[in-house]
Amino acid sequence: MGKTFSKPEAMTDNHTHYCPGCTHGIVHRLVAEAIDELGIRENTVGIAPVGCAVLAYNYIDCDFQEAAHGRAPAMATGIKRVRPDLMVFTYQGDGDLASIGMGEIIHAANRGEKITVIFINNAIYGMTGGQMAPTTMPGQRATTAPAGRDTAQTGMPIRMANLMSEIVTPGYVTRQAVLKPQMVNKCKKAIKKAFQYQVDNTCFSFVEVVSTCPTNWGMTPIDSLKWAEETLLPYYELGDYKTPEDA
């Protein structure tokens, strides 16, 4: 009997540094599978963010550059503009993209940069140890919001996919999740589609992935999945927010 399932070529053999129950590993794999299936590994450049995924280059086996906090879309723009033949993607968390990098992501999308953005939304800062993110839910505890997020002081959580869908320039904007196998399968399709749009030189593509952070949420991995489904998904609704065909 032949081999029916194996590690994607675009993944290294390294063990990840991610905490037990963290969903980064799943999304890394989905990105690697999409790269393999499209046969683009040798022409792909990833941009690692500042955050837990800064070491993404240890796990995804292609050229990588490491950006400063929030600047990945600007860096991707620089690469893509001078080497349009390369496939360029950023992999960013919610502190990186939705807080310090808000300017860079909006303008990269508005210019219609032919890049792919994978945006991990787990409603908290991971690497720095559980501080409040722009995506943190009302009342959700964080190390900088010990009594829970007070929306009177800090506003409501930012819904990036919704915001990005308001940009008039054509693009692909979707929100997915990796909380259940069916969701993982759908997310895989969305990530592959996002890269496909880049391969076809069609448009900017943006995949928000609702994820978990058991360590900083102070929950078990299983409770995290349940909490994300019950608390995050009603606010961060899944689905395509914009496709280039809409334009």
């Binding site: 590994r41 040798e42 022409n43 792909t44 450049v45 941009i47 690692a48 800064v54 280059y57 086996d61 292609c62 050229d63 990588f64 550059q65 490491e66 950006a67 400063a68 600047r71 600007a74 860096m75 991707a76 723009t77 620089g78 690469i79 893509k80 503009r81 001078v82 080497r83 033949d85 390369l86 300017g103 860079e104 303008h107």
Partner: protein
């Protein structure tokens, strides 16, 4: 090649193209916006890439990205914009990437003004961004040198895989002077396959390249700093540039001056010579690496009573002059700011006071 009359900013743009730099990212700021305007028209004509970024912060990373992908790339800005790009400069230096940054300096601090200044000497030579890094800094004294140094900047950036800054000022950017372009730079960036993220497909090793500045292991980070330090030491040995003016005779005073200010000092020295007073000028053309030995040698000459650093700042380069002269001769300072430029008459008055 015949001389052409060009505005400094436009000449810098043209020099980049002739150096084979077909990639330019920038954000508008006075007094350098003409570089971007010029290149927005010229680069498409030669099949190049022009992009106006959303901020100097973003432009810094567009430069980093393009440079990391192994392409020749430049940006231009002015003081407040360079402050915003300084974050990227630290990262680019740390990641050993070549890139050219032009600073057409204006008066500061803060929003300051839009007139010529030399107030960014510290920022350019001592850091600007965080951490132990240096830029190689070239300081032209007019449009001709701005062209030559812009072209040379790419060669030096690629030699060291380090960002190079061409530091002019609002005067050099805005004035028109006759300029003769050197021969086009024909070389290509070298050894890209060893380090650049230019795609594995054409690379013999078929191994991924990584452009990064994060070293969580203390020994590795120390090693990266040692590697940077070795490059700066090599710059000091191989790429110091300077000029001595009227330094053959027995001068009583040595003026230290660079850039636009040195043009005025040159005039003052000629006028003093006509009166029979011998004054020499030491002009660093590289602000980093600073010509340490050369200023020392010029200062310790027997006839020289005193050194004076004359700057369009409140006293920045003077600290390097003092450091290098090592107390062997008195080191004085005179400066004006904000677009005020010491006149030849003022310089003559100061020199005569020093002579007593």
């Amino acid at each position: 090649m015949a001389k052409v009359l060009m505005k400094g900013n436009e000449a810098i743009g043209e020099a980049a193209i002739r150096a084979g730099c077909l990639n330019y990212f920038a954000y508008p700021i006075t007094p350098q916006s003409e570089v971007a305007e010029y290149l927005s028209k010229r680069l498409p004509e030669v099949g190049g890439t022009f992009l106006q970024g959303e901020s100097e912060v973003a432009v810094g990373y567009m430069i980093f990205g393009a440079s990391g992908a192994g392409e020749r790339v430049m940006t231009t800005s002015s003081s407040p914009g360079i402050s915003l790009m300084s974050e990227a400069l630290s990262y680019i230096a740390a990641a050993h990437c070549p890139a050219v940054f032009v600073n057409i300096v204006r008066g500061g601090p803060g929003l300051g003004g839009i007139l010529p200044s030399q107030g960014d000497y510290f920022q350019a030579t001592k850091g600007g961004g965080h951490g132990d890094y240096h830029l190689l800094v070239l300081a032209p004294d007019g449009v001709q040198e701005a062209v030559e140094m812009t072209m040379q900047a790419f060669t030096l950036a690629e030699k060291y895989r380090n960002p190079v800054m061409v530091m002019g000022d609002g005067m050099i950017g805005q004035m028109m002077e006759p300029v003769e372009f050197p021969d086009d730079l024909k070389t290509e960036p070298t050894n890209k396959d060893d380090w650049a993220t230019n795609g594995m497909s054409t690379r013999k090793s078929k191994k991924p390249n990584l452009v990064k500045s994060l070293f969580l292991d203390s020994a590795e980070l120390n090693q990266n700093n040692l590697a940077l330090k070795a490059k700066y030491e090599q710059m000091k040995k191989e790429d110091v540039q300077y000029e001595l003016y009227n330094a053959d005779g027995d001068y009583q005073i040595l003026i230290a001056s660079y850039g636009t200010m040195s043009r005025v000092c040159r005039t003052a020295i000629d006028m003093l010579k006509a009166e029979g007073i011998e004054v020499a000028m030491f002009r660093p053309k590289t602000l980093f690496p600073f010509p340490e030995k050369q200023v020392y040698d010029a200062a310790v000459k027997d006839s020289c009573k005193c050194v004076i650093s004359i700057e369009m700042s409140m006293g920045q380069m003077v600290e390097d002059v003092q450091r290098c002269v090592m107390g062997k001769k008195p080191v004085e300072f005179y400066g004006e700011c904000g677009g005020e430029i010491p006149s030849p008459e003022k310089i003559i008055e100061i020199v005569k006071e020093l002579i007593g």
